[in-house]
Amino acid sequence: MTKKVNTPLSDETVENLEAGDRVLISGIIYTGRDAAHKRLAGMMERGEELPVDLKGQVIYYVGPCPAKPGQVIGSAGPTTSGRMDSFTPQLLDRGLKGMIGKGTRSKEVINSIVKNKAVYFAAIGGAGALLAETIKEAELVAFDDLGPEAVYRLRVEDFPAIVIIDCHGNNLYETGPKNFKLSGEEKQP
């Protein structure tokens, strides 16, 4: 079923999401990928204030294309989340509530999602043109020098995603393929 989700995320919203749900996300989300995560981790290590208060927020792992004239943003689909895994638990401990990306997460991230009552969504990788249609505003927040890896504040309307890991630790990447895996002599129906 498809659920409407508004950001920032409350505990109640997160509790209501189950792995496998299709969602339409509306509100503010922040972009951030490899280089931005590395910088945020460095800032936290040095005890500096982060450019964004993470409480209840959602980070979208994306490095968009430049906007054409008249566009809000260029194509903007998810990048592989696993590369952010080593930085993620400390961001969740700081109040981050949701992540949008694609691909599997580490055990540490899944444990941290459960501990912090957070949620991991996937958007369709390679559907950057379609996803960009739901992004209505984009504003640079930090790390301008990183180009496509800078942090932007996006306002999205009905951004389509799928709940992959819910706050109970259910993981669609584990359960989904199991239903379709054929073993031994089993014939494809």
């Binding site: 490095g63 430049p66 691909g103 379609l130 393929p177 895996k181």
Partner: protein
Amino acid sequence: MREINVELVTKTVEVLCIEANYKLPADVKNALEAAADREESPLGKEILMDILMNAEIASKKRVPLCQDTGLAVVFLELGQDVRLVGGDLYEAINEGVRRGYTNGYLRKSSVDDPFLLRKNTGDNTPAVIHTTIVPGDRVKIIVAPKGGGSENMSALGMLKPSDGVEGIKKFVVDTVERAGSNPCPPIIVGVGIGGTIEVAALIAKKALLRTLGEHNPNPAVAALEDDLLREINRLGIGPQGLGGRTTALAVNIETHPAHIASMPVAVNIQCHAARHREAVI
């Protein structure tokens, strides 16, 4: 000798970079449509339909299919009766990439060194250029933008000749299984068998350029392509790794003679945004 000014190469590369990134090749679109018809997972089917809709939006609005517009991989087939004038050929190709990625509003995804500062070069250069000298007085240019997510899931193994076909199958299927959801399935699997370490990797990449639905001309290799596709689609990974029958759209294998002691196998994974455009000058 036929003279070609390298400025023409630059202009051609510019157009190919843009068109490759805006338009999904017809064979890939057809394969995705057929997969959507067959897919048994309701979510998987919806995902395939969304991917097709994405291609329609990208083509109509002239925007990139995927934000990862890739490193610019350029295959150059240079006729030996061509004399290039007007400047440095490889600089001309890089200038084409620079113009294409700038004028086409494509993402610049190239960093200047792999492990030190990793500073973005700002114009997506340098291109990765593979040149072959061929008979004739023409220049064929293929631009195949390659995204990082699927490239990262690729693998190369120096198998023993005694590992045989079963060893090859296991290596390819294990690589795809390990990749799981990361390379944006449905994928296309390019396999290079034989040669030296770099030849295996290069022919695996070249295998990705083959039109989907066409097989290797050697019937035994073609049979292995079918076997591998069947086995991969039994894994259940499905569209985007969320479960389903469509994990790969095709397995394309290229082979090369090898050393008596060696059987290198390279697996180059390509996401569903399987982009390549070519032109002949």
